[in-house]
Symmetry: C2
Subunit: 406 residues, 2 copies
């Protein structure tokens, strides 16, 4: 239970720093985050709560799909990156050591996960398998490509799957798309999130997939086919004009969106340099096929904040709100309020209790903070409502994005 | 539930790499960790489970004491470290950026937490307060000072407290020692862990405190007064001979130990350079007094593993064991075993199910793995035991360190 009378991370009357978008301003004003330098933030207690709830949902769904969580380190030896010809990539940090050598401060973990899994995958019977981690990544970015972006330090869930055949990979990959849909659904952004075909980049000749959430301030442009609904990243739409890669239609509506997750077929790009092979059932040597599945965890917090911002408030989805219940005490009703808070906590609920006293903390101030911090259930314990059930319960948002004004 | 038939992180018949101590060999052999480079490890699923359970205990006790969890970034701007004259410390990493500047890859977080809290501490009424994080730290270490050590990358809980007066700081500090005792107790190492007086280092002229756990392979030597039991780090025992700083006795027993946590009075060393001041009740300006309270989370996993290693097995404390129940299926009793596993899971227990089939996986192989991985309760589901209660339950260790041989 967080009691606001002792809580250090107070809200501000105005956002403490100018920001180019409303949701970041609100996150700052509500005391969820503080900027340390460009695109590098501290998460204070309430921001961290939101982040951890997003992590928990991702973790549950990944575990459900039979993936195993691990934690790889943030630094790694240069040799691993030379083996894949990725040591000299400009936007990957090099970290000088005391003896004039360099480590890598990891921007991604293919170079670590393949040598790791090579120690455990010794037979085709060990396939398929999939491991994931929720880990901080670092990129030596020159400039922000948009309002939020991955920044120089960001939290990601990255998963890596290993397969004997392309067919097996494809089956797993299709299943992962369903897992991602479930995660999005639990985060309440599925209805405006599109599975989007994108360039495979350096990873593959095939298309990769991104999940793009519609946002007016999004950094990406996507083309959604008017006939079949297939979404295309702008980068794969030829200059000659749109043509749907699924149905061939030339009609599309164009939307701004923000990329929250991407998934890639890695084929044998990383298994080959590390010689990750197995013997198949016929004793034939095969390179292991890989897939990789990212989710920008910290980015997702920003996207969700922006998506649910309306009229100067962030209406957090119930599943990741900083608290389940926000209890405002008016008058001298502290004891009753605390009893209620404890009861809710015993039921496994997250509770914020606004027990601040004094003339400065009247109803107006308290309700303004409640709206800024936000919880799906705001309870007001006053003399009047005590006569009824001890509290009054108001739900401020619901899953379909419909917002009940307070 | 982890089913070993699909679990990628298999045990090894022998430790996969030579190691200079038994517990690290066992952690490697059991598949809990893999080394990426010297003192830098990947935690695989079971190692990560142990680590997360240690984190959870620490988090619960810190929250209980009224501390607030936050998450500060891993990198920070050079300017912050110049303000405290710590930019040029050799064992702190400098991280070159694309434009030939440098960030710091953070070895500790005083330079971040003070500017952060300065935004929230505006009055003496905001004091005392304490924030903490569980975060990865990086050090440009030249060599290992012992078998485990903090290494180049390690997980720490670091807490920072803020006070108006020395008296208030002292009161909070004494309370934190009790919190640490509780944490140690929940980790079952309290009876051999000593609150040890140590040098204040660059932080303070006073003594600092360390918690040292007795271990024959520990990196430290401590002197325990024979009269009053006060423990002294070797570094504060003069060459002229031991004299207890508490009772003056000159008799001490000397023990090897490993430092698991330390706590420091920071006085105004970091509040001054960042000008963190408040007005007191009499409108007098005062520098804020600080304390810092560390716990080596990853180090603690190693220390506990070593402490509980006996006869080539790690008898993990019940509170942090990789699983609560380890179920071995013999014969064709999969269905019964899975029902039992599900029942235990519904009760909130962590379960490992050894459902591996085939001639390779007889009783001998299965029980050997169970002992290597370890759970406080090992259940064997066989035809015979099914006739009774469906399983046979054996407890292999208990809190007082007494070990019931299997």
């Amino acid at each position: 239970m967080i009691k606001l009378s002792k809580f250090p991370f107070k809200t501000e009357k105005v956002p403490p720093k100018a920001s180019d978008n409303v949701s970041t301003s609100l996150l700052l004003q509500a005391g969820f985050i503080r900027q340390v330098m460009a695109w590098v933030y501290t998460y204070t207690t309430l921001g961290l709560k939101v982040l951890r709830k997003i992590e928990k949902i991702i973790r549950e769904e990944m575990d459900n799909y039979g993936c195993y969580e691990i934690l790889m380190p943030g630094i790694s030896p240069r040799e691993l990156w030379e083996q894949t010809n990725r040591w000299e990539i400009e936007e990957y940090f090099k970290l000088p050591t005391y003896d004039n050598k360099f480590y890598r401060l990891n921007p991604t973990h293919e170079e670590l996960v393949v040598p790791l899994m090579k120690q455990f995958i010794t037979s085709y019977k060990d396939l398929p398998t999939c491991v994931y981690q929720i880990q901080t990544k670092y990129r030596n970015e020159k400039r922000a490509k948009s309002w939020l972006l991955r920044g120089r330090e960001f939290l990601m869930k990255d998963a890596y799957s290993f397969h004997l055949s392309d067919e097996d990979f494809q089956k797993f990959y299709d299943g992962m798309i369903k897992v991602y849909k479930t995660i999005f659904d639990r985060l309440w952004i599925w209805k405006d999130t599109y599975l989007t075909y994108a360039d495979g980049g350096t990873f593959t000749d095939k298309y990769s997939h991104e999940f793009q959430t519609l946002l007016p301030i999004g950094e990406d442009t996507i083309y959604i086919c008017e006939e079949c609904g297939t979404a295309h990243n702008k980068e794969i739409v030829p200059e000659s004009g749109f043509k749907c890669i699924n149905c061939g239609s030339t009609k599309a509506r164009v939307e701004r969106a923000s990329e929250v997750w991407n998934i890639f077929p890695l084929e044998t790009k990383y298994s080959k340099p590390f010689d990750l092979k197995v013997l198949d059932e016929n004793w034939k040597e095969k390179d292991v096929i890989m897939g990789c599945y990212g989710i920008g965890v910290s980015r997702l917090m920003w996207v969700i904040a922006e998506y649910f911002t309306k009229d100067g408030k962030i209406y957090w989805p119930e599943s990741i709100a900083p608290a389940d219940y926000y209890i405002i005490v008016l008058g001298d009703n502290f004891e009753k309020a605390e009893q209620l808070a404890k009861k809710l906590e015993d039921e496994g609920k997250d509770v914020i209790l606004d027990d601040r006293q004094g003339k400065k903390f009247g109803f107006g101030v308290k309700i303004k903070d409640a709206e800024l911090i936000w919880a799906p259930n705001i309870i007001i314990v006053s003399d009047k409502t005590l006569e009824k059930w001890g509290y009054e319960l108001r739900r401020l948002g619901d899953k379909d994005g419909k917002i009940v004004e307070f």
